[in-house]
């Protein structure tokens, strides 16, 4: 019993933190239903019900933004999400220690570049006079308009995500693999398992909880999307696919200082996120996994 007590004792400070710094300010979400006057304060501003929600959902741009956000995020989930896992597994199997470490370190670097810089690089590399088109030109192909064609732009968007994030995302899985008991590998080896079998029967099952956890967390992000990447990588020619919720909120809400409107859309995103996460978590648990809640 004393053991239990000390477990709860450990939780006191962290839970206090979440209550004070995450839940206390959540009261401010009511501005989503108000006409917020920054001088009048949150409570004294008049109620307007669902006005902001109605405004957003009536706008064609917002519908496009939702659609684009979902498409880009689904791509992230199916294309970008597995990348770090594959990368980590392959690097883990590598015996050339120096090469392995160097690769890890270098692949992790793009995470530190700002989006402005990365967008600049993308336009330089894939522009009509960029390296890629020069190479294609040598084979008499192109020039291909990668950054101005909506379909190709999506591919570039996802590719950039991989380039920026795979090395960084890999760290979590490397850490998970470092925790695998060596004896499991020894046993598999003695049973005559080859490399692929060892990956399939030892490595993957051992890091599965991490993969499941990461998946659930990512599913919840289906409607949340960073502002900078689509905004800085976009241009007027691809707006029909690059305008997303965050860019919409920026141009209609934040740019004009309309916190109430921005909060309303944020609330909508939160609700969808929670539903998605609950569903993913429920599914995971039905499949016998731990889940995150």
């Amino acid at each position: 019993m004393k053991r239990r007590a000390s477990l709860y004792l450990m939780l006191v400070l962290p839970m206090l933190y979440f209550i004070v710094f995450a839940y206390l300010p959540m009261g401010g979400i009511v501005v989503a239903f108000k006409d917020y006057n920054i001088f009048g304060g949150i409570w004294d501003s008049p109620w307007v019900g669902l006005k902001h929600f109605k405004e957003a959902f009536a706008a064609k741009e917002f519908q496009t933004a939702i659609k684009n956000t979902i498409i880009l995020n689904l791509g992230e989930l199916f294309i970008n999400f597995p990348f770090p896992i594959v990368l980590a597994i392959f690097l883990n199997e590598m015996t050339h220690e120096r090469m392995k470490k160097t690769t890890q370190t270098i692949l992790y670097l793009p995470h530190f570049l700002s989006m402005v810089v990365v967008a600049g690089i993308v336009y330089q590399v894939f522009g009509s006079s960029g390296i890629v088109n020069n190479v294609l030109g040598a084979f008499d192909i192109g020039p291909v308009n990668f950054v101005g064609d909506p379909k190709k732009w999506r591919a570039i968007y996802w590719g950039t995500g991989i380039w920026m994030g795979a090395g960084y995302g890999m760290i979590v899985y490397l850490a998970a693999m470092a925790g695998i008991n060596v004896e499991l590998y020894d046993a598999a080896y003695i049973d005559g398992a080859g490399r692929w079998k060892r990956i399939w029967h030892v490595t993957l099952p051992q890091i599965r909880p991490t993969i499941v956890t990461m998946t659930i967390m990512n599913v919840g992000k289906i409607l949340s999307i960073g502002f900078e990447r689509p905004y800085l990588m976009g241009n007027v020619l691809v707006q029909d696919v690059s305008s997303v919720i965050s860019t919409y909120v920026y141009s209609v809400g934040l740019q004009a200082g309309r916190y109430d409107f921005a909060t309303a859309i944020g609330l909508f995103q939160s609700v969808v996120a929670l539903i998605m996460v609950l569903a993913a978590n429920w599914t995971a648990r039905k499949l016998g996994e731990e889940g995150i809640m």
Binding site: I38, F39, E61, G120, Y123, S129, L232, N235, A256
Partner: protein
């Protein structure tokens, strides 16, 4: 080496102290003691000021006020900072005899308005704030968050009031003085156009003076210089590159139209603009403008082309002037031109905003409004403003030929002076005498630009402009304007990119987007305002 080590240790210790004990020393500030340390540097003038402090003054009560100052991450010598340096100490020497102590509140230059917005919401905003965004002042004012300065106007410097009547009227919103203008003693064109004179001469043509001639020149450039893009353009969301060109298709004859269309970016939507867009679209189709312009979203390609001398004509981009130091061609000659008269036959273009910025006082400052107004009044005096801008004449600057010249940056740092002193000069953006120094200053920054090119450029930039007709009131539809501004830029950029024969189709589709985003509401409300107030 040892010394170095000990310095590192000291710094490390300082950091530890910061980490452990900073909450206890948040509000330390220097008040009157500062005067003693500065007297040596400030010379005779200060001695009198100091005498004032000790003898005449000791005002019964010194009121603290907080004034916003831009934080640009400037460098200061030990013991000095943005909020406590020779200039701030000098200002307080002047103000304390009047019973006012000025504290400076740093706000980062980039994102300043957002930061201030938060501070206003939390009630922690400084007492005197500056912004470049007229819309904010209008909104804050209509939300009841700003002090109406009307009753205090007579305390300001009479010269400031009489010289800037228009600007002061312009900072009234619905009859309330919600801000004071930071004004230019002189101002000039908001848009400028540059062309390669050397290429025109080599082709045996004359400098274009009308749009038709310009078009002829651009097509000739295309033919004779295949590696040069006749007209520079990019996909950056800004109104600069096209406004001048489109305005050559519209008229200013109707005052009502001016009030409806001239605020914000809507000028280019005046009747007649469609023809101009069609011409720009033709330019793109014919390769006068690079067909890849739209994907150059941050001007990278355009600026590189300019730096390499690969652009024939460009609007609102001075990169061609910087290129004097990068282009290898000895004949290179980029000059500013007036080549796009508007439909009324005038070369006049909209001026840069008549005001530099707006200075406002939030309601939270009401209990010390007298002290706040005292400081504003002090700043509105030309001599004081000049001293502030030039980091105290005789200290941070020297008189040369009757005009103050700032000392070198390093010298200012060493003496504990700020080198961004102009940021504290709130009410006067510049001074009339500076106008005579424009060519000299321009040459100092761009020494490779030939003298005559610089002279012409300054002459053209500071003539032939008009102030836009702006509405001195907060309108209901103002909230749609920021979004609409970007949408209008996007509209132009997209319509220009219309495929052969699809111009009308694309135009109608994109215009519809503007309408859906309240373009018509905005125009209608302005029309209604004009009909109600100006008839």
């Amino acid at each position: 080496m040892k010394k170095h080590f000990s310095r590192m240790c000291a710094l490390a210790m300082a950091a530890v102290l910061l980490l452990t004990g900073c909450s206890s020393k948040t509000d330390q500030k220097e008040t009157t003691t500062a005067a003693a340390t500065t007297s040596a540097a400030a010379g005779t003038e200060t001695t009198t000021a100091q005498a004032d402090t000790s003898a005449a003054a000791k005002p019964e009560k010194i009121v603290d006020i907080n004034v916003m100052v831009y934080d640009r991450g400037d460098e200061y010598s030990a013991g000095n900072s943005l909020t406590d340096n020779e200039l701030t100490r000098w200002i307080n020497e002047q103000m304390e005899p009047q019973g006012v102590h000025v504290n400076f509140v740093p706000v980062p230059r980039s994102g300043a308005d957002n930061q201030v917005n938060l501070m206003l919401a939390a009630g922690t905003a400084p007492d005197i704030i500056r912004t470049y965004d007229r819309q904010r002042v209008a909104t804050y004012g209509s939300q009841g968050g700003l002090v109406d300065l009307t009753p205090y106007m007579d305390q300001l410097d009479p010269a400031y009031l009489s010289e800037n009547q228009d600007a002061i009227g312009f900072t009234q919103f619905d009859g309330k003085q919600y801000a004071l203008p930071g004004v230019y003693a002189y101002h000039g064109k908001g848009h400028d156009a540059y062309i390669r004179q050397d290429l025109i001469e080599k082709m045996g043509m004359k400098m274009p003076t009308t749009r038709e001639e310009l078009i002829e020149v651009l097509y000739a450039m295309k033919e004779n210089y295949p590696d040069i893009t006749p007209m520079g353009f990019s996909g950056k969301i800004t109104d600069g590159m096209y406004t001048n060109f489109l305005l050559s298709y519209v008229s200013r004859a109707n005052e009502r139209d001016n009030y409806i269309y001239e605020p914000t970016f809507t000028t280019v939507l005046k009747p007649g603009h469609k023809e101009g867009l069609k011409q720009l679209n033709q330019f793109v189709l014919d390769g006068i403008i690079s067909p890849d312009y739209a994907v150059d979203t941050d001007n990278t390609k355009l600026n590189q082309d300019l730096a390499n001398g690969k652009i024939g004509f460009v609007i609102s981009n001075a990169g061609g002037m910087d290129a004097y130091s990068t282009v290898e061609d000895p004949d290179y000659r980029m000059v500013e031109v007036e080549t796009l008269p508007n439909a009324d036959g005038s070369y006049e273009v909209p001026s840069q905003d008549p005001l530099s910025h707006y200075v406002y006082v939030p309601k939270t400052a009401e209990d010390r409004i007298d002290a706040v107004v005292k400081y504003l009044a002090w700043l509105s005096n030309e001599e004081n403003a000049m001293n502030v801008k030039y980091a105290v004449i005789g200290v941070g600057s020297d008189m040369v030929d009757g005009a103050p010249v700032m000392k070198q940056k390093q010298e200012l740092i060493d003496m504990g002076m700020t080198y961004s002193s102009n940021d504290s000069n709130l009410l006067r953006a510049n001074f009339a005498f500076e106008k005579d120094l424009l060519v000299r200053n321009y040459k100092a920054g761009k020494p490779d630009v030939p003298e005559d090119v610089a002279e012409d450029l300054i002459r053209i930039q500071y003539s032939n402009y008009y102030d836009k007709c702006l509405i001195p009131a907060a309108l209901e539809t103002d909230q749609y304007v920021p979004n609409l501004q970007s949408l209008i830029c996007e509209f132009v950029l997209k319509v220009m990119a219309a495929p052969e024969g699809k111009f009308d189709e694309v135009y109608d589709k994109e215009y519809q987007i503007l309408v859906e985003n309240h373009l018509q509401d905005v125009l209608d409300e302005r029309a209604a305002w004009y009909d109600a107030n100006m008839k």
